[in-house]
C-alpha cells in the first residue's frame, strides 16, 4: 500500500468534487446548482494540477536571471496538465455563462428558479398537453370533470 501521506492531495480533490456533486443533486435552487457544478469541475482541475507536481520542481518557465543569461533551475513541473486545465477552465466558464442565460430565461417564463416549483409547473404543463392530445371526447370529459 502506498503511504497515505503521498496521496492525501488526491483525497482533497475527491472531497471538493463531492461537495460540488452534493450541491448539484441536493440543492433545488438553479443558481446554486450552477455554482456547485463549478465547484465540481474545480475539483477535477485540482486533480490534474496535483499530478503535474514534481518534488523540488519549479514553474515550467525558463527564467532569465542576471545579464540576460538563462539559467537552468532544476526539474520543472509538468506543463501538460497545466495546458489541459487552462482549456478546461475556459470550458467551465462557458458552461456557467450558458447556464446563467438559461436560468434568466427560466425566471422570465416560470417566475421562479427553484427546481421543485418548476418541476410542478412542468408537470401541470404536461398534464394539459396530455389531455389535449387525447381523443376529443376524453378531453371533454376531463374538462367536464374539472368544472364539476
Amino acid at each position: 500500500m502506498t503511504d497515505v501521506l503521498g496521496i492525501y492531495n488526491y483525497w482533497i480533490y475527491v472531497v471538493l468534487m463531492m461537495i460540488g456533486l452534493y450541491g448539484v443533486i441536493a440543492k433545488p435552487n438553479l443558481i446554486k446548482q450552477a455554482i456547485a457544478l463549478g465547484l465540481f469541475q474545480t475539483g477535477i482541475f485540482l486533480y490534474y494540477i496535483s499530478m503535474a507536481v514534481i518534488d523540488g520542481g519549479t514553474a515550467p518557465i525558463w527564467t532569465t536571471i542576471e545579464d540576460g543569461a538563462q539559467k537552468f533551475q532544476g526539474p520543472y513541473d509538468n506543463p501538460l496538465p497545466h495546458v489541459l486545465i487552462l482549456t478546461a477552465i475556459v470550458v467551465s466558464v462557458s458552461v456557467l455563462a450558458v447556464a446563467l442565460a438559461l436560468i434568466i430565461n427560466i425566471k422570465r417564463s416560470y417566475g421562479t428558479i427553484e427546481a421543485d416549483e418548476i418541476e410542478r409547473m412542468d408537470h401541470e404543463d404536461r398534464l394539459i398537453e396530455y389531455r389535449a392530445g387525447q381523443a376529443p371526447d376524453a378531453a371533454d370529459d376531463a374538462e367536464a370533470r374539472h368544472h364539476a
Binding site: 499530478m51 438559461l102 427560466i106 417564463s109 376529443p136
Partner: protein, 502 residues
Amino acid sequence: MLDVQAHLPVLIVTIPLICGVLTIATGKGWKPWAWATAVTGTVFYLTILLMQQVLASATGVVSYELGNWPRQWGIEYRVDALNAFILLIVAGVGFVTTIYAKKSVEKEIPADRHNFFYAVWVLALCGLLGITVTGDAFNVYVLLEISSLTVYALIAMGKDMHRGALTASLRYLILGSVGASFILLGIGYLMMITGTLNMQDMHERLMSVPGILESRTVLVAFAFLLVGLSMKMALFPLHMWLPRAYTYAPSAVSALLAATATKVGVYMAFRFLFTIFGVGFSFIAMPTTLVLATCASAGIIVTGVTAIRQTNLKRMLAYSSVGQLGYIVLGFSLANVNGVAGSVAHILNHALMKGGMFMALGAIVYSQGRCDIRSVRGLGRKMPLTMAAFTVGGLGLIGFPLTAGFISKWYLVQGCLERPHMWPLAGVVLLGSLLAVVYTWRVVEAAYFQEPDDDRPIAEAPLLMLIPMWLMIGASIFFGINATFTGKIAVTAARSLLGVGP
C-alpha cells in the same frame, strides 16, 4: 495549390468551424440557411471522399498529424472504417437536416436571429464531426464540450414554442456537464498512469506494461468513463435528460439530435472501450457485457412501454430513441463480430429512420402547430406523403423485412445467439420490436382509420420539407434492400474494433 485529398480529415472539421463563425455575417432572410446548406453539403462531399480514401488505403487507416508534430506529442487525427462511416452518417444527416431546417426554423425561431441560430447549428456539427475524427483523448473532451454547448443552445431555442425547452436544456446542461466531467476525470486517470494522451499510444502503454491493467486507478478510470459515456449517449437509467430535450427542441433540432448526437456518444464508447482499453480488458476482465446488456435490455422494454403511453408524438419518438439506443448498446456489449456489426449498422439505420420520422413530425408541427396523437387523426388523407414517411419509418423501427431496421436486428439476434447463455437477449430484441409495433400502430390507426376532428383543409407539407424527409426514409429502404455496403463496412469496423483479422 491545396491538396484536398491529403488534408481531408482536418478539412472536415475546420471548414464547418470557419464557415460556422462566418455565418454570423451572412445577414438576414434565406442567406444564413443557404450558407449553412452549402457548408454542410461541402462537408458531406468531403466525408464521401474520405470514405473512399479509407477504403482504398492498404492499412485501412488514414492518419493526420496536426501542426506536423509527431502523434505522440501533438494531436493526431486517425480515421478508420468505423470513423469514416460515422462521419458519413453525421455529415450526411447534417446536410439533409439543414435543407429541411429552412421552413421549420422560419416558423419556430424569431427571424432576427437566424444567422446566430445557423452559426450554432454548423458549430454543433463541427463538434460532432471533430469527436468522430480525433485520435486524441483530451481533444475528445474539448470537442465534446463544443457539441454539448451548441446543443444546449439549440434545444433552448424551442423556448418560443414551449417554455419546457428551457428546463429541458438546463437539465441536459447539468447532467451533460457532470457526464463530461466524469469523462475528463477518466481521461486524467488514464493520462496519469500512462503518461500520454494519444489513444493509440495509451493503448500500447496499457498493453505493454504488465500489471497496469490490474491497478485500481485504471479500474476506476474505466468505471467513470463508462458512466460519463452512458450519460452522454443516454443509456437507460441515465437517459432522463433525453425525452424532454427531444420533445421541446425545435423540430429541425430534434431531427438532427436524434440522428447524430447520441450516435457520436456511442462512437466515443467504441473508442474508449475497444481502442483504448481493448476488448480483453473491457469485456473479458470486466463484467461490462453483463452491466451494459442489462441496462440496454431494461431500456428497450421500459421505454417501449413508456412510449406507448405518450400522446405527444415527439415524446413518443424520444422514448423510442432511448429504446433503439438500447439495441445499439446491446449489440456492442456482446463483443462478437455479429453483435458489434449489428450495432454499427443500427447506428446508420436508426439515424435515417428516426431522423426521417422526426422530420415528418416537424412537418405536422409546421402545418398544425402541434403534433399529438389527436392532431394526426385523419391526416393520412390530408398529408399523405408525410404520413407515409412516418409509417415507413415506423416499420423500420419494428424491424420489418426490406427496411433497414431488419438488417441490423438480424445481426443483433445472430450476435445474441452466438454468445453462450445470451439467447434471452434475442427475446428482448423481439419483444422490443413488438412494443414498437404497438406504438407505431397507434399513430397509423389514428392517421388512416380515424376521422379528423374538423374539416379544416390541411395542406401537404412544403416540398423543401418533403424532399429531405423522403431522402432519409428512402435511404433507409435502400439500405434495407441493398445491405452490401452497410454490411461490408459494419463487419470491417467490427473486425478492426475486436482485433480479429479481416
